[in-house]
């Protein structure tokens, strides 16, 4: 089994290296066959692993090699494959495969064709490394490597100033999150002396019934009034906020749209940005110990879900609409985590991966047809020209809005329900925000659909003349993604309502008397939100029936209707709204001024600080006053020598030898008496 897992991880890596190094020799066709083939292999093997792990119920926990053994701490690479990781493996390899195929069509004219394939295969490797890890070290490796590939891909068209800037920004903002992450790992090591998930769970005593094992508090956590579990949970979540683009570390994701569309689908919608969600779910036993951090997560997630959705309303670039929508949906997942509905978060992660990848790829198909025009104001009426793109996009849009039977409905509804039932103090705010968010989501989604596919054809004649449906390599992935977009919701039974994520990682009897089992996803009894939702669950059909009668559905319909009214029926409404609330438009159009604040405060501040330190401390104080001052004093005291010798070096050397002799004598004398 270990070999097969290695093959899953390494196949994309080898393909990536081969194509990266010999791409120009292999040529385009062999390059894309090699990389796509490797990912297809990884997908098929993941299916096999799914059979073994999910259907036969075996958990695999194997170490591969010792990375470093220092101070009796063994840091290893290894795999922990349970239902959570195998589900992620399937999502990652499937979406990656679709994107590989799609790329053949999308990038076929690009001079960086083979480089692009090399990157996305490398990404697949890194993402698999991340989700399959059995320890925090390898997790961090994967975490940073996906960040690296994201950086390389955002800056793929590196001659463009905006792309180069966006890539740098993405990396640095992510690093702010990683700052928290690495400290989180450090605190874990203090208390657990291990980086292995299961050992950490064991030693952090997460299995103590009622939570909060009594490990020693160190001065820091005491000073902050936090338990060590609080501190660990908080620090790791800061990492998650960076990768999963939660407010205020969200600023990099919209700019990441500078990259080619396929990677927006793969990295910046379906997989990498959900790594933060995965992380929290993976270590849910730790988060269950910390209500204070769960509250924090609720607030951050809810804020992101609603306020980022609002920005999508004023975007005119089709990719940016989808990007802000991704931010908002990541907010929903985060809210689910805060409500201890981890399985709902993972469920939404999965459905979102399908429908958002679909929407991005559909947007890409539109962009290709429009000859790389991304401004929706220059589109319109495309549904007649791009029927497959249109219908798949509509399916994606309906799923995104949470219209029943589409997958998004199930995953979003269960999140809203869970937040509703949560007893944490921030849940009221979160519930309100995610409910309003539904309206906003429906509005911006169908605003996009209507602006792009309906109404008048606003493009120039030249473009209009050449409009045609994209080739099969592009439409087939759309169709293949549309299938799970429709159907994946029906997995709600086992995934969220059932015990799919209750595999036992560390049996209670191994820990001690009166302990609980540590399971894949662990929910404390004092966080009953999802349990209450489960009680009211009586099968998929009744869930749909219930959904049709509940508020979110009607809010979604209202949002769609509103979009129809504004963008189809009466296009003067938008202008009127703008005239009435110009400040609101400006606020949203400037993205709450987050970018300009960061630019002015952090970026300029750091440069200012650097310049000041350099010119005042380094040059003026140290060099000017002390070094040159010493030099002058030496030269002065060696003044008489000036007539004898010339050249600075001799002055200094002479003075110093003299000084040396004096000092030597003085110290020896002084110390003899001690």
């Amino acid at each position: 089994m270990g070999l097969m897992l290695l093959l899953i991880v390494l196949a994309p890596l080898f393909a990536s290296i081969l194509v990266g190094v010999f791409g120009h020799k292999l040529g385009k066709v062999r390059s894309h066959y090699l990389t796509t083939g490797s990912v297809a292999l990884a997908f098929l093997l993941s299916l096999w692993v799914f059979k073994v792990v999910a259907l036969d119920g075996t958990i695999i926990n194997e170490n591969i090699y010792v990375w470093a053994e220092v101070d009796s701490i063994k840091m290893q690479f290894g795999f922990l494959i349970d239902n959570l990781s195998v589900l992620m493996m399937l999502v990652v390899t499937f979406v990656s495969l679709m994107v590989h195929i799609y790329t053949i069509g999308y990038m076929h004219e690009d001079p960086g064709y083979t480089r692009f394939f090399s990157y996305i295969s490398l990404f697949t490797f890194a993402m698999l490394l991340l989700v399959m890890s059995n320890n925090f070290l390898q997790l961090f490796f994967g975490w940073e490597l996906v960040g690296l590939v994201s950086y390389l891909l955002i800056g793929f068209w590196y001659t463009k100033e905006t792309a180069a800037h966006a890539s740098m920004k993405a990396f640095i903002v992510n690093r702010v999150g990683d700052f928290g992450f690495i400290l989180g790992i450090a605190v874990i090591l203090i208390y657990a002396n291990s980086l292995d998930y299961i050992q950490v769970f064991d030693r952090l005593e997460v299995s103590v019934v009622g939570g909060k094992g009594d490990l020693p508090l160190d001065p820091v956590t005491q000073a902050l009034g936090l338990s060590h579990q609080d501190l660990i949970a908080l620090l790791l979540f800061i990492g998650a906020m960076g990768k999963s683009a939660q407010v205020p570390l969200h600023v990099w994701l919209p700019d990441s749209m500078e990259g080619p569309t396929p990677i927006s689908a793969l990295i910046h919608a379906a997989t990498m940005v959900t790594a933060g969600i995965f992380l929290v779910a993976r270590v849910s036993p730790i988060y269950e110990q910390s209500d204070i951090v769960l509250n924090f997560i609720l607030v951050i997630g809810a804020t992101t879900a609603f306020f980022m959705g609002l920005i999508a309303i004023v975007q005119t670039d089709i990719k940016r609409v989808v990007a802000y929508s991704t931010l908002s949906q990541l907010g929903y997942m985060t809210v689910a985590l805060g409500a201890s509905a981890y399985s709902a978060a993972i469920f939404h992660l999965m459905t979102h991966a399908f429908f958002k990848a679909l929407l991005f790829l559909a947007a890409g198909s539109v962009i290709v047809a429009m000859h790389h025009e991304q401004d929706m104001r220059k589109m319109g009426g495309l549904r007649r020209h791009l029927p497959i793109t249109y219908w798949t996009a509509v399916i994606g849009a309906l799923a995104l809005c949470g219209i029943p039977v589409f997958s998004g409905f199930f995953s979003k509804d269960v999140i809203i329900e869970a937040v509703h039932h949560s007893s944490l103090s921030a849940s009221g705010y979160a519930y309100f925000m995610v409910l309003l968010g539904v309206l906003v989501t429906a509005f911006y989604t169908f605003r996009m659909i209507f602006m792009v596919f309906h109404g008048d054809e606003r493009m120039d004649d030249q473009t209009l003349l050449h409009l045609k449906e994209s080739p099969k390599v592009i439409t087939i992935p759309l169709i293949l993604l549309a299938i799970p977009t429709v159907l994946a919701g029906f997995l709600i039974g086992p995934l969220v309502m059932g015990d799919f994520f209750s595999q036992v990682l560390l049996p209670a009897h191994n820990v001690g008397e009166g302990m609980r089992d540590v399971t894949t996803i662990m929910v404390a009894e004092r966080h009953p939100a999802l349990a209450l939702v489960r009680e009211g669950y009586h099968g998929v059909l009744s869930f749909i029936g219930h959904g049709l009668l509940s508020l979110p559905f009607w809010l979604a319909l209202a949002g769609i209707a509103l979009a129809w009214w504004v963008y189809i029926k009466d296009d003067s409404v938008a202008d009127k709204a703008y005239d009435t609330f110009p400040w609101l438009y400006r606020l949203l159009d400037n993205k709450y001024y987050a970018d300009s604040f960061n630019q002015k405060f952090f970026a300029k501040g750091a440069v200012y600080l650097g310049t000041s330190l350099w010119s005042f401390v380094d040059r003026l104080l140290i060099d000017g006053l002390i070094v040159n001052g010493l030099g002058r004093v030496t030269a002065w005291s060696a003044g008489w020598a000036r007539r004898v010798q010339t050249g600075y070096l001799y002055h200094y050397a002479f003075a110093m030898v003299l000084g040396l002799a004096l000092m030597l004598g003085w110290i020896l004398l002084a110390l003899r008496s001690v």
């Binding site: 990375w67 101070d71 490597l145 180069a164 010493l630």
Partner: protein, 517 residues
């Protein structure tokens, strides 16, 4: 144990070879001869790794005989290495070889002298890493500066004289203190000895003597590393030195400072080091943040790498002095205090920094050779013209950023983990390197590699040739291997560090304290 005096070979072969090359002169294949010597030295150093019994962690391959025995002064020719020395010797022989290959076509004048200087320096630096006698150490420690000054002063840039003098003032000021301290220590030993174990065993040092000795070590070695605020020689020296000089300064010369802390300062005066550890910890943290901020605003690539270099070396001193903040501390498992982790981190960081800073300087040297400029503004969109070079530069940049999978991650990771054990805020400040390091490195990358090719000179750039490919490739490989599998390096040093820990640990402090009272 081998009967063969392998250490003496490693010491004298490059030095003799260097003089040989000097005598041969420019005309008769000086480059080939130098390369032969450097290759032989590297090959001779390899068995150290394989033969050394790292589990024991003791001084091995030792050689001893009387060197000076006149006027009542005894100095021994005492050589020996532990795991840490071996790692550094390997780094030295490896980097020297690369630097000589890099100089093959690019140094146009006085090639024989250039190569000879590097060979002699290699031998002397090896001497530093293997000396077990304090005065012998001092001789090598100072001696290695002579070829370095020559390299800087003869083959350097326009302001090389100023840079050399500044470097000289700094190092000389430091070594004055060092010599005084060593002489004083000599007088305190029973029979008069510079033998390091004798100095470690000194128990009759007064508190004030210890303090003065520690402070003089701090200045002498702090200049080398360099510690803030003893660093202002470094940006100028790095920027003015020829490529090979910058590489050896960054990869080797500053390591001598870190090694000297490890070999002399901490074991000889552990009590004073213990008392003053907080100062060094703070200075290291200042170095990390302060140098990173200054690196951010540099307009010259070499200066940028220089400041970045100082910031990264902050992890070395931080790791070393954290030891004193970690002893006796243990949270979950009494056996693990994190102090070995801290020192391992410092040592791995030294090796890694040699590869990374070396790689960056070599890469910048290749650019400078093509365009005669190291100003960032002279470059733009290099990737379009030099894709292979760009790939390597990106790899070195990522290693500089400390990305996992590169060697740059390992040491910093260990030190951050260990420092969190000492104090959370120390770790928090150290971890800002994640953000700041990314900021200055990637901003430079963006300006140099990305963007449009905006001048005709840039348009004519040729990608790296086969020789350059080999140099960068070997370094890149070293960075990746160390990043994905640091275990062999860690195994090499773990036993020695544990041995060393005994010399600086509180239990060892006790008799010394008694000696005071």
């Amino acid at each position: 144990m081998m009967e063969w005096p392998i250490l003496s070979f490693l010491l004298w072969l490059p030095i003799m070879g260097g003089f040989g090359v000097l005598i041969v002169g420019d005309r008769y294949g000086a480059r080939q001869a130098a390369l032969l010597v450097a290759t032989l030295s590297f090959l001779i150093s390899l068995p150290l790794y394989f033969v050394y019994d790292s589990a024991a962690g003791t001084m091995q391959f030792t050689e001893t005989f009387r060197w000076i025995d006149a006027l009542g002064v005894h100095v021994n020719y005492d050589l020996g290495v532990d795991g840490v020395s071996i790692a550094l010797i390997l780094l030295n022989t490896f980097m020297t070889l690369l630097v000589l290959v890099a100089a093959w076509d690019s140094v146009k004048e006085r090639i024989a002298q250039y190569m000879a200087a590097f060979l002699i320096m290699e031998g002397l630096v090896n001497g530093v890493f293997m000396a077990r006698d304090a005065l012998l150490f001092y001789v090598f420690f100072e001696g290695m500066l002579i070829p370095l000054f020559l390299i800087l002063g003869v083959w350097g840039g326009a302001q090389r004289i100023h840079a050399t003098i500044k470097y000289f003032i700094y190092t000389f000021a430091g070594s004055v203190f060092l010599l005084v301290s060593l002489v004083y220590l000599y007088t305190q030993t029973e029979q008069g000895s510079f033998f390091l174990p004798d100095l470690y065993a000194l128990t009759n040092l007064s508190e004030s003597a210890q303090l003065l000795i520690f402070l003089s070590f701090l200045v002498a070695f702090g200049v080398k590393v360099p510690l803030w605020p003893l660093h202002t020689w470094l940006p100028e020296a790095y920027a003015q030195a020829p490529t090979g000089g910058s590489v050896m300064l960054a990869a080797i010369s500053v390591k001598v400072g870190g090694y000297a802390f490890y070999r002399l300062a901490l074991p000889i005066v552990p009590e004073a080091a213990h008392d003053w550890a907080l100062l060094v910890v703070i200075l290291s943290l200042v170095a990390i943040v302060y140098m990173s901020l200054i690196a951010l605003v540099q307009t010259n690539l070499k200066k940028l790498i220089a400041y970045s270099s100082v910031a990264h070396m902050g992890f070395v001193t931080l790791g070393l002095f954290l030891v004193f903040k970690l002893q006796g501390l243990a949270f979950a498992d009494a056996a693990v205090s994190g102090s070995v982790l801290a020192v391992q981190g410092a040592m791995v960081q030294m090796i890694s920094h040699g590869f990374v800073a070396g790689g960056l300087f070599l890469a910048v040297g290749m650019l400078a050779e093509r365009l005669q400029s190291t100003e960032i503004s002279a470059y733009s969109g290099i990737t379009s013209r030099m894709p292979v070079f760009a790939a390597f530069f990106m790899l070195f940049a990522m290693a500089n950023v400390g990305l996992p999978g590169t060697s740059g991650f390992v040491g910093e990771f260990f030190v951050i983990l260990a420092s969190a054990k000492a104090h959370f805020w120390v770790a928090s400040i150290a971890a800002t390197i994640l953000i700041l390091g990314a900021a200055y490195t990637l901003w430079a990358v963006k300006r140099v590699l990305f963007g449009e090719v905006n001048s005709s000179e840039l348009n004519q750039l040729q990608d790296i040739n086969r020789r350059e490919f080999v140099i960068l490739g070997v370094l890149g490989l070293a960075i990746l291997v160390l990043g994905w599998w640091p275990e062999p390096l860690i195994r090499l040093m773990e036993g020695s560090i544990r041995e060393w820990m005994m010399m600086v640990s509180p239990s060892d402090l006790m008799p010394a304290m008694k000696g005071n009272s």
